[in-house]
Symmetry: C2
Subunit: 306 residues, 2 copies
């Protein structure tokens, strides 16, 4: 039995998720702390709270735990990556992008609050991500604050998530080769997933070897996540996904399944999981519980519903 | 003759503007440094370069100069506030918001590049603003980096610019009273203008008195800017403005002119200018040239074209 198997992911997950949900509820447009300008805060909270697997926060918290870092810094890093993810979904769902009506089983933000409010809520959520990383309460040293801001900005921007989305837009109806498809996903989903891991790690003082291992881990699970997403788009139903299934295939979006077929995509996902687990074996991480959580998260991410 | 009159604003302006334009051109999606993902960089550069009065950067640079701060930090602060301003215009012009076709005398970003690309370009420009504030070249100490990120995030977010835009959206066709109109503009345009001044000041080590004076100055010119904008909306033509004139009045947006009338609005703008100049007199600023630039900028801002 591997360490990943013996580790109680469920218990760890539950505890971390409770912490993240509480922090997000405290920090995102909380009307107790400041007035809600014209319902913008309502839209922000609707977009962020009460939904999502919180995969990115869990990765950040596990990576911090694995290197024995500052847990308060990691909680802020965890929430900041989730905010970037959440705002990107709000904008992605808008009519000028994917025009999706359903997200996490609920009406999308623009359906519920109108397009203009959705646009502004997304913009404000992105700004909030950086505000969370720069507290004045002394819980995070300013060198770490600056580094986390830099990593988040790079992962979210034109050479990260937004750049990947632009490639995605431009490639609808096109046949991408394997290199192009990998590049698109390295930016579109990979950059923020990898940043989640590395931002968590930078809440501590990881050795160069630990950092290299976590870098490799973050890169591989970022890719694995997208391969599995493409598989689920054709194998799962909308109720299970909480979003419209079959959308990518119907929309003529290039996917791993359209490039290599369903069975080969499943094999590829399993290979990536093995690589992610191997990358963590190459190095001594400070705390076994964090390393076990990273292994278990990789396993969960690949073995979702197929 | 006042110091503001004897100071060569034109010469100072020209030199600072050249520096800002060069920095923006170097730093915004420069294809020399990184590949352009699917034209996103083109859209980002179109949105940012070659246009605008660069009022916010000039305020940041003047405030830094006034307190004898780190000029390299101030140049990054100056560009970061301009990026937030530029992204907000891109999103503001979109069909779901103001639906404007013309900006700075050119087609708006969504007209030229499509709505989806405009949305992404705005998002990427916001992220870039924070990336600019967190360089690894040692030019800005990390405590300053963290502080500038915090100030920018707060000025841009739900309790700043985005919040003001939400109030603006909600108030179309409504009669706002003076307090409500002031609150809307304090957030919508005032927060970022004030942040421009204070971020520039925080590139140095201002005394508490200097900081208080600059805070007052920033707040008053932020308000004056909006009053003048409302005046120009009814008195100037589109060619002069570089954007559609008469739009606010036609769109039923509450303005200072609709609230207090044209002549009273002009008087109010002049009073605010006097207040801004007085606030700077109350304190000894380190460098006379910076203080003179701040006075001249306030004068220019109010005495634009009426």
């Amino acid at each position: 039995m591997s360490a990943a198997m013996s580790f109680d992911l469920k218990g760890w997950n539950k505890q971390q998720l409770d912490t993240v949900e509480q922090a997000l509820s405290d920090w995102v447009a909380n009307p107790v702390h400041a007035p809600d300008p014209a319902g913008l805060g309502d839209a922000m909270r609707y977009a962020v709270l009460d939904g999502g697997k919180r995969l990115r926060p869990l990765l950040a918290l596990a990576a911090c735990e694995a290197v024995g870092g500052n847990a308060q810094a990691a909680l802020r890093a965890a929430c900041s990556v989730e905010l970037i993810h959440a705002y990107s979904l709000v904008h992605d769902d808008m009519p000028c992008m994917d025009n999706d009506m359903l997200r996490r089983g609920k009406p999308t933000v623009h359906v519920k609050f109108g397009e203009a409010q959705a646009l502004l809520a997304g913009d404000a959520i992105q700004a909030l991500a950086f505000e969370l990383l720069t507290p004045v309460d002394g819980s995070v040293d300013t060198t770490t604050q600056a580094q986390l801001c830099r990593m988040l900005a790079q992962a979210a921007g034109g050479q990260g998530m937004a750049g990947g989305q632009a490639i995605d837009l431009a490639s609808v109806g096109m046949q991408l080769d394997s290199n192009q498809l990998h590049e698109m996903h390295r930016l579109k989903t990979g950059a923020l997933l990898k940043a989640s891991v590395l931002m968590g790690a930078h809440c501590g003082q990881p050795s160069a070897a630990a950092l290299a291992a976590l870098d490799e881990y973050g890169q591989v699970i970022g890719l694995a996540f997208q391969v599995v997403d493409d598989i689920l788009d054709v194998t799962a139903d909308s109720a299970t996904l909480g979003k419209t299934a079959g959308k990518d295939a119907a929309g003529g979006k290039p996917t791993f399944v359209s490039l290599m077929g369903l069975e080969a995509s499943k094999d590829y996902a399993r290979q990536l999981l093995a690589r992610a687990l191997t990358s963590l074996e190459a190095v001594e991480l400070t705390r076994p519980q964090g390393a076990a959580a990273l292994r278990a998260l990789a396993d969960m991410l690949v073995n979702r519903q197929f």
